[in-house]
């Protein structure tokens, strides 16, 4: 009886280990895509993407005047971090890059990001720098003047996730649930 127990146990353990691999909710980039470094400005001073190597980076593009999709996205990400355990959340850095340098200075976008979570970092750059970063990360950005005055900024609403080596590894389209984001982050945290 004992002789058949250990082989059976081994089979069960192997079966558990070989169970279905995790399927991310977002779009997994396999192999990861290059993510060029950038240096932008936060309220505290210059911040480079490479500063966060070793952490999972959640990179979002938005602007402070946006009342709808941008705060909705930021709230989803903040909720995802609330779902994670504190030691998991500590391994994730959220960056919000302003696509509206005309209106958002570093202080404003930093303050805006921090309202969602005090660890979120809002970043600003000159229009040419922002155009370059947006293009590097496949983010469309266009300022549109409004008939009544003022302007809005059309932009890609997807969120890009970088692995610990700073490469693009996952894309969440707008509308990804916070629970799904948390599961995907947990997967990336454990994987590396």
């Amino acid at each position: 009886m004992l002789r058949s127990f250990f082989p059976l146990l081994a089979v069960l353990v192997l079966a558990a280990g070989c169970s279905d691999p995790y399927e991310p909710h977002g779009t997994l980039l396999e192999p990861p895509l290059a993510a060029p470094d950038f240096e932008l400005v936060s309220a505290e001073g210059p911040v480079a993407k490479s500063d966060f190597e070793g952490q999972i980076v959640v990179l979002s593009f938005g602007f402070a005047a946006c009342p709808d999709v941008c705060p909705d996205t930021m709230r989803r990400i903040a909720r995802a971090l609330e779902i994670l355990e504190p030691e998991e959340a500590r391994q994730v850095q959220v960056l919000l890059v302003s696509v509206d340098p005309r209106r958002d200075d570093a202080a404003l976008i930093s303050r805006y990001a921090a309202v969602f979570d005090p660890t979120f970092i809002g970043l600003r750059g000159e229009p040419a720098e922002i155009d370059r970063v947006a293009s590097d990360y496949n983010i469309h950005r266009a300022e549109v003047e409004l008939p009544g005055g003022g302007h809005t900024v059309d932009h890609t609403s997807a969120v890009t996730v970088l692995d610990r080596r700073g490469q693009r590894v996952l894309i969440w389209s707008y509308g990804t649930a916070p629970e799904a984001m948390a599961e995907d982050l947990r997967f990336l945290i454990r994987r590396s």
Binding site: P67, V69, R75, R79, V115, H140, T152, D154
Partner: protein, 160 residues
């Protein structure tokens, strides 16, 4: 034969009965059929934000408009208590690109509902110079093309 005039009188009386309670005998929740829009504002909520007098910020109000009447209603303006400027906007997603544009006039067809929700129609609150904290309530006033207004209490809450 004297029955006929009585019958005619009865029919006339029925036809001339006041029409202000069309659902008197019918289900009170059934749509109207008297050529009038009847708009209800449901589930109004506002995104929490932290504005200050020197650093105003923007927010958004969302709700569902339900038209129980049998005429179209057109929303043309909205205001929120304590907020300087409010505008009706619509977000559309075009191949993953978010675009937000002003919406001058939003139609609510008879018997239908129109949802103002994230990534769609919303009322943009501009220049909020105070904190709108979860649990606060704000008066929301909606003005329609026919001159009618509807008010609702909007709850400040997070969608998640």
């Amino acid at each position: 034969m004297r029955f006929a005039p009585l019958l005619l009188l009865a029919l006339l009386a029925a036809a001339c009965a006041p029409n202000d309670a069309p659902n008197a005998t019918a289900d009170p929740s059934a749509p109207r059929t008297d050529g009038v829009a009847e708009v209800h504002v449901e589930d109004a909520w506002v995104r929490p934000v932290r504005g200050t007098p020197t650093a105003p910020t923007n927010s958004a109000a969302y709700f569902t408009l339900r038209n129980r009447g049998d005429a179209r209603a057109h929303l043309v303006a909205a205001s929120v208590e304590g907020v300087e400027i409010t505008e009706i906007h619509e977000t559309t997603m075009d191949d993953g690109v978010m675009r937000m544009r002003p919406a001058e006039r939003v139609e609510v067809p008879p018997g239908e509902e129109v949802a103002f929700q994230p990534a769609g129609l919303h009322v943009m609150l501009l220049g909020v110079r105070q904190e709108l904290a979860e649990g606060d309530t704000l008066g929301l006033t909606l003005r329609f093309e026919d001159g009618t207004t509807h008010t609702a209490q909007a709850l400040v809450r997070s969608p998640f």
